[in-house]
Subunit: 171 residues, 2 copies
DNA sequence: TTGGAAAGTCAACAAGGCTGACATAAACTG
DNA sequence: CAGTTTATGTCAGCCTTGTTGACTTTCCAA
């Protein structure tokens, strides 16, 4: 039972024990439990603002790509415009996000964080980075490379595009 | 900017470029985009049953630990009993889960999958494993070890306990 | 025998997804 | 210029899944 790998072995008799159902199940549970840790710290901060993860995600990607359009954000987040609009509206009303009418194309709204929005973004991302920094440090650089490699392979191709777009070249 | 690591270097002048804010941000986005891929395939199946991810999680952990109690499931899933109860009730009503009164302690309910419940579990976990198998295979065994190491470090200690509990020794 | 733990239930609420329909302005196209 | 497409916003309603609070029943254990 432990060796049911569906596609047993590669070229030179490699057994691929890391592809057993049991190993895959551990990977699945690792994703589940780790994602909870991943969101736990920002969630505490968000509760103070009575915001949710949807606000966090919007603020994160506006910070990453200042001046991004609503449509672009929509495709990154993978939600409907009604859902995103509800979040953006509260962020604009609360003065955390500014939606500037496009110069070339006046239909577009270019999104920017205000000073207060940048403050929230900093608080959220620092909390999240702190946990990840400890995890990275404890696991070491080679583990981090593996972590990134597996996660990248797990993404849908469209999402992988967005992921790689956000690279500054040195990554 | 690229080298702001908060705790600059270790013993023998290691620069720790993998701990820059930019690298941490990539890790954060990797988690976000990969988790979407991770849930995408089961979500399609669940839609046919008009179930959600909460049902998937319950079915997964009942399958992993047959006879587990409601309280134990509660602490694994990290939700309120009211929230879990709603999900369990539908699963019991639909004949996917059986809740057996405890023999020693009759207050407890020991949860088991029925044959139909096991069918759904198989469909869901096969879909999820297929994606993970491809990701693991493309990334290779060393990357998988790193993936597991980083995720384990990212968990809250309580969750890590549950994660390690589910190990069959060979993992 | 009594206190407290385990489980279940009811009610109310909120976040954040979804669909569908519709409005407006701007850009594009023939 | 007329018609179509695109980008955005908005209203209404629905669902899942989380929450809190209050309460009951069952039953183990001191």
């Amino acid at each position: 039972m432990a060796e049911r790998t569906t596609s047993a072995s590669i070229g030179r008799g490699e057994t691929r024990l890391f592809l057993t159902d049991e190993q895959l199940r551990k990977g699945i549970e690792a994703m589940f439990f780790a994602y909870r840790g991943f969101t736990a710290d920002p969630d505490l901060i968000l509760a103070d603002y009575s915001y949710g993860r949807a606000h966090h995600r919007a603020v994160h990607f506006i910070n990453r790509s200042p001046g991004t359009t609503v449509n672009n954000l929509l495709s990154i987040l993978g939600v409907t415009k009604q859902s995103l609009n509800r979040v953006l509206r509260t962020l604009v009303e609360d003065g955390l996000v500014e939606a500037r009418v496009g110069k070339r194309d006046k239909r577009e709204r270019h999104l920017h964080l205000t000073a207060r929005g940048a403050d929230l973004e900093r608080a959220l991302s620092e909390a999240q980075r702190n946990r990840m920094r400890v995890a990275f440090r404890n696991a070491g650089p080679e583990a981090v490379a593996g972590f990134r490699a597996v996660l990248e392979e797990m993404m849908d191709p469209d999402m992988r595009r967005h992921y790689l777009d956000g690279t500054d070249g040195s990554a």
